[in-house]
C-alpha cells in the first residue's frame, strides 16, 4: 500500500500569525482520515496546504509522491468539497450542470462535456442516489441534496483523493448519519482516500480509520478511539469538556428517508 499524503514538519504563518506548527501526518492510500479540532485551529488551512492552495512557510507535502503544486490539471488527483457556505446555494444551474463541472478539466481546450462526460456524471449521481433530481435547479434542492450533488461533482473528475471541508453542515442529524455511511461505502467501493474536516468529533470517530486532532499543533494522529482521552481533548478544547458519544440506541432513531 503506498502513501497517499505525506506531510513533513509543515508550519504555516499568515500575516505573521502562526496557523500551523510542525505538522507531521502520513496517510495510506484507501484510508479515511478525519481532521478535528476547534474553530481557528487550522483545519481548513491544513487541507488548503494539501490541495496546493496555500504554500507552507516551512516543511514539505507530497501527494502520491509529488508536491501538490506540480500536479497537472486533468490528472485530477483531488475531488474537493469546499465549505457549504462558500457555495452560492442559488447558483443558476441544474444538478447535472453542477456535476458536469467536475468534468471540465478533462474535456480540453474549447471543448464542452460530451456524451461520455454525461454518462460519467450520471454514474456519479446514481452512486450518490440523486439521479432523479438531475434536471432540478440547484437552488431548489435541500442542503443534503446540494451536498450530494457537490460530492457527485467531486467524484466526476475521477479523483484519487476526496477532500471534504465540514461536509455535514446544512444536513439534519439523521441525514448526517446516512451521509457518513455513504462516504464509507464510497471509500470501500472505489478504494478512495478520504480526508474529512469536521467539528463533530463524536460522529467522526465512528466512521474514520484515522484521526488527526489539530489546534495549531497536531496533538494526536492515529486510531480514532485513542483520541478520546482527557489529555487530547483538553489540548484541543480546554479544560471544561464533556464528550457525548452516540451509542447503539442511535440505530433505533427513526429515519426520515429509507
Amino acid at each position: 500500500m503506498s502513501i497517499a499524503i505525506n506531510i513533513k514538519d509543515v508550519s504555516v504563518s499568515i500575516n505573521d500569525k502562526e496557523i500551523l506548527k510542525n505538522i507531521n501526518i502520513s496517510l495510506d492510500e484507501g484510508h479515511f482520515l478525519g481532521i478535528v479540532g476547534p474553530n481557528g485551529g487550522g483545519k481548513t488551512t491544513l487541507i488548503k496546504v494539501i490541495l496546493g492552495l496555500i504554500r507552507p512557510s516551512s516543511g514539505s507535502v507530497s501527494i502520491l509522491g509529488s508536491p501538490p503544486e506540480t500536479l497537472k490539471a486533468g490528472n485530477s488527483f483531488f475531488g474537493y468539497l469546499p465549505q457549504h457556505q462558500n457555495i452560492d446555494p442559488n447558483f443558476p444551474a441544474t444538478a447535472l450542470d453542477i456535476v458536469l463541472m467536475g468534468r471540465y478539466s478533462k474535456t480540453g481546450f474549447l471543448r464542452w462535456p460530451g456524451r461520455k462526460d454525461q454518462e460519467k456524471a450520471m454514474d456519479c449521481m446514481s452512486q450518490m442516489g440523486i439521479e432523479k433530481i438531475r434536471d432540478m435547479q440547484f437552488s431548489q434542492l435541500s442542503g443534503g441534496q446540494q451536498q450530494r450533488v457537490s460530492i457527485a461533482r467531486a467524484l466526476a473528475g475521477e479523483p484519487k483523493i476526496l477532500v471534504l471541508d465540514e461536509p455535514s453542515t446544512g444536513i439534519d442529524v439523521v441525514g448526517q448519519e446516512d451521509f457518513y455511511h455513504l462516504l464509507k461505502g464510497l471509500q470501500k467501493k472505489m478504494n478512495l482516500t478520504i480526508l474529512m474536516v469536521s467539528h463533530d468529533i463524536g460522529t467522526v470517530t465512528t466512521y474514520v480509520d484515522e484521526i488527526s486532532c489539530l489546534n495549531i499543533n497536531l496533538y494526536y494522529h492515529g486510531n480514532p478511539l485513542g483520541a478520546l482521552t482527557d489529555k487530547v481533548m483538553t489540548s484541543l478544547y480546554g479544560k471544561h469538556f464533556d464528550l457525548l458519544m452516540h451509542t447503539d440506541i442511535c440505530d433505533k432513531c427513526e429515519r426520515l428517508r429509507p
Binding site: 492552495l53 469546499p82 452560492d88 443558476p92 444551474a93 478539466s105
Partner: protein, 266 residues
C-alpha cells in the same frame, strides 16, 4: 421606430449600442454571479480620471481612459488578492481619488463643456466612425476572451478554489476579466456615460438570473435584456431629447422590475 434610426448618426449609435449591450450583457452575468457590482461602479467612476487626462493632454480621452481604467482595475484586483486592504476599501479609494483627479484636471484644462457632459451621461451625436472601429475591436477581443475562457469563468464563479484545483490560473483569469471589464466600461461611455454605465453591468445579469435555468441561458437572457434596453433607450433618447444614458438605464430598470413582477406572479 425605424425612421428614428434612418439618420447616419443614429445608425452609428445603434451599431455601437448593440455591440456594447452584448458585451455588457456577457460581463454582467459574471459581475452578478461573483457579486462584483461595486467593482463595476468603481471602475466606471474611476474612468472619469482617465477621460480628464485626455482632456488635459489633448490625447483622445477614450484612449487615456482605457489605459487608466485598466491600471485601476488591476490595482483593485491585486490589492484585494493580497488581502491587506479589503477590496471594497480599495475600490472606494481608487474611485474617489480618480474622480478628484478628473475634476482637478478638467478645471485646469478649462473644458467644462458639452463634450464633458457627453462623457458623463452619453451622447449619441458624438459617436464617430473611429469610435465604431474601437468598439468593434473591443467587441472581438472581449467576446473572444469570454468564449475561450467560458468554462473557467463558470467554474471560478461557482467556487474559485475549485477552479484553481482544476488547473485554472485564477490570477491570470481574474486579471484578464478585470481588463475586459475596464475596456468594456470605457467603450460604453460614449453611449451610456460614466455615471450610468455601471447599471448596464448589473441590471441585465440580475434580470437574466430571475429566469435562467442554466449558465448559458443566463448569458443569452442577459444579452437580450441589454440589447432591448439599449435599442429602446436610444429611441426614447432621440424622441424626447433625453441623455441616452438615462433613457437606456431607465429602460433596463423597467425590464428588470417587470421581470421581477412576472417572476413573483409565477
Amino acid at each position: 421606430m425605424l425612421e428614428v434610426f434612418s439618420s447616419p448618426f443614429m445608425q452609428r449609435a445603434l451599431i455601437a449600442g448593440i455591440l456594447v449591450s452584448i458585451l455588457t450583457g456577457l460581463i454582467s452575468v459574471f459581475i452578478v454571479l461573483r457579486k462584483m457590482s461595486f467593482v463595476g461602479a468603481g471602475i466606471s467612476h474611476a474612468a472619469f480620471g482617465g477621460v480628464a487626462i485626455g482632456f488635459f493632454t489633448g490625447i483622445n480621452p477614450l484612449l487615456t481612459a482605457i489605459i487608466y481604467s485598466i491600471l485601476v482595475a488591476i490595482g483593485i484586483e491585486s490589492t484585494g488578492r493580497r488581502g491587506r486592504i479589503s477590496e471594497d476599501v480599495s475600490i472606494g479609494i481608487f474611485y474617489s481619488v480618480s474622480m478628484a483627479l478628473g475634476v482637478a484636471l478638467v478645471s485646469l484644462s478649462g473644458s467644462y463643456n458639452v463634450d464633458l457632459f457627453g462623457y458623463l451621461f452619453g451622447n449619441i451625436l458624438a459617436i464617430s466612425e473611429a469610435d465604431i472601429f474601437l468598439t468593434v475591436i473591443t467587441f472581438l477581443l472581449v467576446s473572444g476572451f469570454i468564449i475561450i475562457f467560458l468554462k473557467d469563468l463558470f467554474l471560478s464563479a461557482y467556487n474559485e478554489e475549485l477552479a484553481q484545483i482544476s488547473g485554472v490560473s485564477v490570477v491570470l483569469l481574474n486579471n484578464l476579466f478585470m481588463i475586459s471589464l475596464a475596456v468594456t466600461i470605457v467603450i460604453s461611455i460614449r453611449i451610456v456615460g460614466i455615471i450610468l454605465v455601471s447599471a448596464l453591468l448589473v441590471i441585465p445579469g440580475a434580470t437574466a438570473r430571475l429566469f435562467a435555468k442554466g449558465l448559458l441561458s443566463m448569458l443569452v437572457f442577459s444579452c437580450v435584456t441589454g440589447v432591448v434596453s439599449v435599442i429602446s433607450g436610444l429611441f426614447f433618447s432621440y424622441e424626447y431629447d433625453i441623455a441616452p444614458g438615462a433613457s437606456i438605464v431607465m429602460a433596463s430598470a423597467f425590464i428588470f422590475f417587470l421581470s421581477l413582477l412576472l417572476k413573483k406572479k409565477k
